[in-house]
Structures are given as C-alpha cells and as structure tokens.
C-alpha cells in the first residue's frame, strides 16, 4: 500500500514508469502495441489462448544464435500451428544503433524468416519495463486465463553458440507443452540470459 501511494505520488510528479516485473502466477499486465505493419494488438484480445512474449533485438548475438540456428523460427511455427499467439517485441530505444524503424524491421523479419504472430516495436520501452524484460531474448508465457506461467530464459545454455541449441533444454517449449497437457509448469521462472534490453 505504501508503495502504491509512493507510486501515485511519483506519478503525479511526472516520474517515469517504474520498472515492474511479470511474476509467474500473477496476472499478465495488459498492453496495446502496433506491429511493424501498423496493426494494433492488445494482450487482452488474446484471452483464451496461450501467448508467448519474446523480447527481440536483431543486433544481439544471443538473439542471432537462436535465429541463425533456426531454433526460434521453428519454435514460432510449432506453437503458432497449435493456436499459440507469439508476439515478438523489440523495446529498443530509437536512439540506439540497434533500433530499426517499422519498415526496416519488416525487412529483418523477412530476411530472418521470422514467424511470430506479430512483431511489434515498444519504442518507449513501457511494455518492456512493465514486464521487467531485462535481456534479449527474455521470454514470457501467458496462459489462456491471462496469468503469467513462465518468465525467463529461452533455454539452459547461456551462450551465443548456435550449436548449443541442439543440446539445450528449451524452457519455453517445456512450459507450453506442460501447460497445454494440463500439467503445472515445472520450471516457471529462470534467469534470462542475453544482451540487456536497449531501453
């Protein structure tokens, strides 16, 4: 409560949005973002379906690892085919050299053969901050009830070596498989690895 009031005080003083965290077991904060083609998406619109949030930055070697190995694209295809909504989000600040505007982001999407349901830019970083997205890739899974069921790394091999993908345990796939099979997620929270999100 104290914190809430403090936040309110800060908010009236015009302070920036506090860095919050999406914690497994808690409701996922709703947000609305336009994708690189200009279409708006609201998280709440996908109530009733599993949603994967993938924090993306094409300039990050750890993200490149999962795209150059084809790992991320195959995960995207595998789960969107099962009705999962996969939202790739870039919270890269437009001032960063890693920033790509919507047109060039569409180019990246095509070149890399990315296959998410939507690829969206969170230019002011508000969504990333609300979720506590720290790294690229930082992964979140939201269940059909809108509850966060997984937050953390994509797998258990914190390297930028593409060959490690083959031997890694993929936490996102495990969480989705378990949850869709009606089982509790065995590892709902891990430490995300990668580059810092370029807020």
């Amino acid at each position: 409560m104290k914190r809430l009031v403090l936040a309110a005080v800060l908010a009236t003083a015009g302070a920036p949005v506090a860095f919050a965290n999406a914690v497994p077991g808690q409701p996922a904060a709703d947000f609305k973002l336009a994708d690189v083609t200009g279409k708006a998406h609201r998280l709440a619109d996908y109530r009733g379906r599993y949603v994967v949030l993938e924090w993306f930055n094409q300039g990050c070697p750890f993200v490149q690892k999962h795209y150059e190995s084809g790992n991320m694209q195959s995960l995207q295809k595998r789960f969107t085919d099962k009705g999962v909504v996969w939202l790739a989000i870039s919270s890269t600040n437009p001032k960063s050299s890693d920033y790509r505007d919507p047109v060039r982001a569409q180019g990246v999407m095509k070149d890399w053969q990315m296959a998410p349901s939507a690829f969206m830019l969170d230019e002011d970083g508000a969504v990333g901050r609300r979720y506590g997205a720290k790294a690229t890739p930082h992964m979140f899974v939201v269940d059909p009830k809108g509850t966060v069921i997984y937050a953390g790394a994509i797998d258990d091999k914190p390297t930028w070596h593409a060959e490690d993908v083959k031997t890694a345990r993929n936490f996102v796939a495990a969480a989705l498989d378990e949850a869709m099979g009606g089982k509790p997620v065995s590892q709902p929270s891990t430490q995300a690895y990668g580059c810092s999100v370029k807020y």
Binding site: M1, R3, A7, V23, C195, S196, K198
Partner: protein, 724 residues
C-alpha cells in the same frame, strides 16, 4: 633428429622438448590480440615458474572506453567471461580470481562488470617433476560478451610460454604494476566476519559484523550477490548502523522465491586504498519478501527494519530519507483524511460555512481558513504531545485510543446530537453551537473556525486512513522532534484544502449563491450528524453493552427535553425555565454518563468461525496451519466496511472454509494490551490491520487496509499453498 628414442640420452630429450616448445609458442603469438572493442593478452606475473609451486597468469582485457565485460554474476544481462585452459599434463589451473566488479547501470537495469583494464588472475600448479628450464606451454580459449549500448561476443585463443627455473621467482617488471593493482582489488576471505540474513516485507536484510579491528565506513557499503535473481540489481542498497556492525537493506528481486540455502557474494565498502572487500557466505533463513520489488526506489520504513531485526529495542538511527518519506506519507494521509467517512459530517459543515462566507470579506475569509488549519495543527500537536508524554511514561498506546474511552464517545455523541438539533432548527441560541463547526460570525468566528479545525481532527483520528498507519507507527517510534514533524505534516495535509479555498476564493466560485436553499441544505446536513450519533451510540454499545447504549440514548432525549423546556418556559418566566432545563440537563448527564460496568463482555469473544485473539491462541493455531487475523474495532468504519463487504462475503467465507486457514479476530474496541503489543510487533499502531500468519513460523503477510475480495482470496490461496 628423428630416431629411436632409446638411443637418445635424457638431456637430449629435454633439449628437444624445449626446442619444440619454443617453436610451438612461436607459432601461437603471445602478443596482444585485437578483438572487437578490446585487446586481449595472456601474461604471467613472475619472470618464471618453479616446479612444485604455484604460479599466476592472467587474461588481460583492455576495453575500449565505455565498453565492459562481465563479472561472475553478470547482473540483469550479459555473460560472465569464461576461460578454457589447454595445459600440459600435470599442470592444473585454478578458478578465475575475480576482482571487485563495478555496478554498471544500463537504463532501468544494472550489470556487474569491468571497464578499462582488467586482469583475470588464475593460479597454475606446476608439478614437482617438471624439468626446470623447460618452459610450460599454456593456451587459453577465452570467451566474453563485450557491451556498450550494443553487445558483441568476444573471444580469443591466447597462448603463453611460461619459463621455468628452480631459482626464487620475482615479479616480471613488465606487468608488476598491473598485477599489484589487481591483487589490491581482489576480495579477501571473510574469515572472522559474522554475517546474518533476515527477510522483511520488502527486503532482504544483511547484517555484517566485521572481524575485530576492521572498521567499516559509515556509507557506501555494497553487496554483490553470487547468485542471480536474489536481489533487485539496480535498487539502491540502504545502509544502517547497528550496535555491532552494519546492516544493508537489499530490495529483493521480483522473481526471488526465497528457496535458497546459502546466500553468498561480495561485500565491498570504501574507496581506493581504504577499500574493504570480502567474500561472504551465510545460511539463508529461507522465505522471500512478501512485497516484491515493483519500484526499485522503494525505501524501507524504520519499523520494517526493526521488525527484521526481531528486536524492537535496537532502534537504528532513522535515515533522513525515511523521515522525509514519512512526512510525504503523512501529508498525503492528511489530505485523504478529508475524504474519510468519519470526517465527512464535519466537512459538510465546513462547506456550509464557506458558502456563508463566500460573499463576505476576503481577508476575513483567509483568516478563517488559516484559523481552521491552525486548529487542525494545534489539535494534532496536542494529541502528539499527549502521545509522546504517555509513551514516555511507558504506556503501550495506539492511534484511535481516544475512542476507546467511553467518556469521549459519549461526549462526542452528545456534541453531534446538539449540532444536529441546531442544524435541524430545533433551537437557535445567541452564540450558536454551530460556530464550533465553522460558521463565520465575526468576533467569535475566528475562534469558531479554530475550534472546528480541532473538532474535525478529533473525529478523524479513528479512521486510520490506508497508508497513514505506517507514518503514524513511524512517528510513534521516533524521537520527539520527528514525531512532531510527522504529525504537523499530517495536520497540514488535512488543512490544506481549506486554506486553499480561503486564499483563492475563485476556487469557491463554483459554490452556489446563498439563498433559501441554504436553510434546506443546513437542515439536510443534520442527517449525517444524526448518523454519526448512531455510530457513536453503537460504538458505546460495543464497549459497554446495550444498557449503556440505552442510557446514552435516554440522555440524548433528556437533553432535547432540556432545550425544549428552555425555549418554552423561558418565554413565560425566566427562572422557572432555567431551573427545569437545568434539571433535565442533570438527568441527561446522570443517564448518559458511562458507567464502566459492561453488562456482558463483548470484546475478545468468539464470533462464529472467528476465534478471539490471544497470543496463545495464535501460537496454538499456527502449529496447525496458517492463521488470518482481523485487527478491528467497532469505532473503525474502514474495519466495519471491510468486514461486511469482504470478510463476510460468501466467496471469502467459502475460501476460508476450503483453504483451512484459521480465523482470529482481535477486537480493539476497548483498550487491550495484548492486541496493542501484537499491533506494535507488526509495526502498526492503529486498525484495521489484516495479517496472514504462515503456519509454523515466519513473518506474517500484511494485507492493505482497504480490502477487496480478490485480495483476500489471493492471500488465502497463497497461505493454503504454502502449507503444502
């Protein structure tokens, strides 16, 4: 040089071996390797290694300005630098000896790493049988992530030929200063240090008692955890001095589950040559803070700290920021008090007063506003002064205590009843009682405004507004001056709207023009006052029973009769009216005067599924499972609203039943030492407080003062899950 090995004498083999080594190292350069944004090199500390002894080598990374690589725990992102050694048989490498890292803020995140020149030291054990004179070929495959705004993977395969000899080693002058600098920045083992952790609602508290002879500087202490996702990396770490050493308040990471057996890391204090850096490790008591780090700037209140210490006596010096924050809370709390249900009747009277004054003299209006605010401030001072005096005399007291006195309840009921009668037009007297509540009669007007300010305060206190409790608890545990400051801030917050209205009459422009409607409004405003009387009578009933409530009601009727007698009979013959009226007043006083004889014990009894609170009962129930305690009082409106709307709702009742969380009600309607102590232990001095005590042991989870069904259901769910 080719031939059967048996034909060659041993010295020859050695010679050939060393020749080969030289050739081999010649192929793999020992020179610095240029990598993106950094230069890397493998260097040796000493001129040569001695067989059978250890020797130190280092991976040196010279970063371009502003680029950094990472510590063993990289923080919110990044990867620790890794070295894979390729060494001759018998030579073994120890772990990387990490110098003290820097905390590198990256937007809202923080990393732990290094900039500029970095030496990662590694000890090599040279086998005793190594032929002296033969260099040791070593190869390091190093990998790191180097970041500025963007990140790049870095790495190099580096090699070095370490000469050997049996003579005593000496530092290689080429690298002596770099090694010396690095050694100075290596943490030492924390031998002789005593480290303890505890958990509060929001923080992990680290108590460090240094080895004898070590004096920690008063500020700048930092903890670098070995394990990720335990503390919130960018949050400021607040330092407190405790009797034996220092206490560090670490905001817990949002995802920290508390399931940790030991917590280890680096404790760093001071700067430059005076820097103290030790590796510490201590058993972690388990448990994660209840309130997670949503706001990295969140500070901890003094009572949290004291609670964390589990020792209310060891009061640390309150940090200035804590006081400042308490003042802000108190001011906000004062503002909100104007909206609380128990102030509402007075506010309505005030508004009426302003309506009457809006067409009057501006300067006088200002004076009235200031006088009203002054009344509030003085009343808070009186209460604070009394509280401090009582605290000094060792009384365990809590906010709202004045309504625990039946006499005060009775007096307020009488006062509000009279005010109500006056508003209803039942009587008009020369000096209208209403001036108490802020009418604008000249002369007595200022005093009236002042008194009405005091009255507003007296009525407001029992409604411990959400979050005001903390500021009050803080004030009550602080030195007298700090307490007075907090109370003053509370008072100023409450008085601010009135002062604003009186100084900027433009703001009152929205108020309608005076007219006949005012009489209507005045009469209507009597009803909130009557409702307040009903509430006060009910409070008295809860305190002393229905007989006492009936006697108070009878007293009120007799009071009305006294006024009637005065009005009817003074017209006929002054003396008779006065005497009859006085008799009625005496009868009213006799009837309403609360006699402290409860006809039935009402507090501390069980109500349905809710057991009565006692320390023993709480202990007994906690042995079986989690316990929900409702700290409440009849005179606390917020408590009653929560009880009716949330706690007694079907869904919450059902959740209590299915979750098997035991229920206790701590009724503080009358003063109760045990409940006052229990509240103090929670860092509170008023009600409502809702605490969920986990089964067995551990700190209770406190729920907000304004409950919602979802909140309680979620808390019950958590409590029920924890027991499995």
């Amino acid at each position: 040089m080719h031939g059967p090995r048996s034909l060659l004498p041993l010295p020859m083999i050695r010679f050939l071996l060393s020749l080969l080594t030289v050739l081999w190292t010649g192929l793999a350069p020992a020179a610095p390797v240029q990598t993106p944004h950094a230069e890397a090199e493998l260097i040796a500390q000493d001129t040569h290694a001695v067989p059978g002894k250890r020797t130190t080598v280092a991976l040196r990374i010279r970063h371009e300005p502003e680029w950094h690589t990472y510590w063993r725990n990289p923080g919110d992102s990044g990867i620790a630098t890794r070295i894979a050694w390729t060494l001759p048989d018998g030579v073994t490498a120890g772990p990387i000896q990490w110098p003290v890292p820097e905390r590198i803020p990256v937007g809202p995140l923080a990393n732990y790493g290094y900039e500029d020149e970095l030496l990662l030291l590694t000890d090599l054990q040279v086998p005793a049988g190594w032929p002296p004179g033969t260099p040791i070929p070593i190869e390091a495959k190093a990998e790191w992530l180097i970041c500025k705004e963007i990140c790049l993977p870095g790495g190099a395969t580096l090699s070095l030929s370490v000469p050997t000899a049996t003579s005593a080693t000496r530092p290689d002058p080429a690298h002596a200063s770099a090694f010396a600098r690095t050694r100075a920045s290596l943490p030492s083992a924390g031998d002789g240090w005593r480290i303890a952790y505890s958990v509060t609602d929001t923080h992990i508290v680290l108590d460090a008692m240094p080895r004898a002879g070590v004096n920690l500087p008063p500020s700048g202490l930092q903890f670098f955890p070995d394990v990720p996702e335990v503390i919130d990396n960018p949050s400021p770490q607040t330092q407190e001095r405790v009797p034996e050493g220092l206490r560090l308040l670490l905001t817990a990471a949002a995802v920290f589950t508390g399931k940790l057996e030991t917590l280890s890391g680096l404790l760093v204090a001071g700067e430059g040559a005076d820097r103290i850096a030790v590796e510490i490790s201590a058993p972690y008591p388990g448990g994660a803070p209840k309130v997670r780090a949503a706001d990295p700037n969140a500070q901890m209140s003094a009572q949290d700290i004291r609670r964390a210490a589990g020792n209310p006596e060891a009061a640390p010096a309150a940090p200035d920021l804590g006081l400042l924050l308490a003042l802000v809370f108190a001011f906000g709390g004062g503002l909100v008090l104007n909206l609380m249900p128990c102030v509402f009747p007075v506010v309505s009277i005030k508004v009426l007063g302003f309506v009457e004054q809006a067409h009057g003299d501006r300067a006088e209006l200002r004076n009235h506003g200031l006088a009203f605010a002054g009344g509030i401030v003085v009343c808070f001072w009186i209460v604070a002064g009394a509280l401090l005096a009582l605290r000094a005399s060792g009384e365990a007291l809590g906010w709202g205590y004045q309504l625990q006195s039946p006499l005060v309840v009775t007096a307020l009921a009488v006062l509000f009843f009279l005010l109500g009668l006056n508003l209803s037009g039942w009587f008009e007297i020369g000096t209208r009682v209403q001036t108490l509540a802020g009418s604008a009669e000249s002369g007595t007007g200022l005093g009236g405004a002042f008194l009405s300010g005091m009255l507003a305060t007296a009525v407001a206190t029992p409604c411990t507004a959400p979050f005001m409790g903390a500021a009050l608890g803080f004030a009550l545990t602080q030195p007298a001056l700090a307490s007075m400051a907090v109370f003053t801030a509370l008072a100023l917050g409450m008085g601010l709207p009135y002062v604003l209205l009186s100084f900027f009459p433009a703001l009152t422009a929205w108020l309608p023009r005076p007219g006949r409607w005012m009489e209507t409004l005045k009469q209507f405003l009597a009803f909130p006052l009557y409702l307040t009387v009903v509430w006060l009578v009910w409070v008295l009933g809860e305190q002393l029973g229905t007989t006492a409530a009936a006697r108070l009601l009878a007293g009120l009727v007799l009071l009305a009769a006294a006024i009637w007698a005065w009005r009817r009979l003074t017209a006929a013959g002054g003396a008779v009216g006065a005497v009859v009226s006085a008799l009625f007043v005496a009868a009213a006083a006799w009837s309403a005067w609360p006699v402290d004889e409860p006809d039935s014990p009402r507090t501390g009894t069980a109500h349905g599924a809710w057991g009565a609170y006692s320390d023993d009962e709480l202990r007994r129930l906690r042995a079986e499972g989690p316990v929900f305690v409702d700290f409440t009082a009849a005179w606390c409106v917020t408590c009653q609203v929560n009880k009716r709307v949330v706690l007694q709702s079907d869904s919450v009742e059902a959740a209590f039943a299915s979750s098997k969380v035991a229920r206790l009600r701590a009724d503080w309607t009358n003063r109760d030492e045990a409940i006052t102590r229990a509240l103090a232990k929670l860092g509170r001095s008023g009600v409502p407080v809702y605490a969920v005590y986990p089964g067995g042991g551990g700190d209770p989870e406190l729920l907000p003062e304004l409950l919602t069904k979802d909140l309680v259901l979620a808390a019950l769910d958590r409590a029920a899950r924890d027991r499995h």
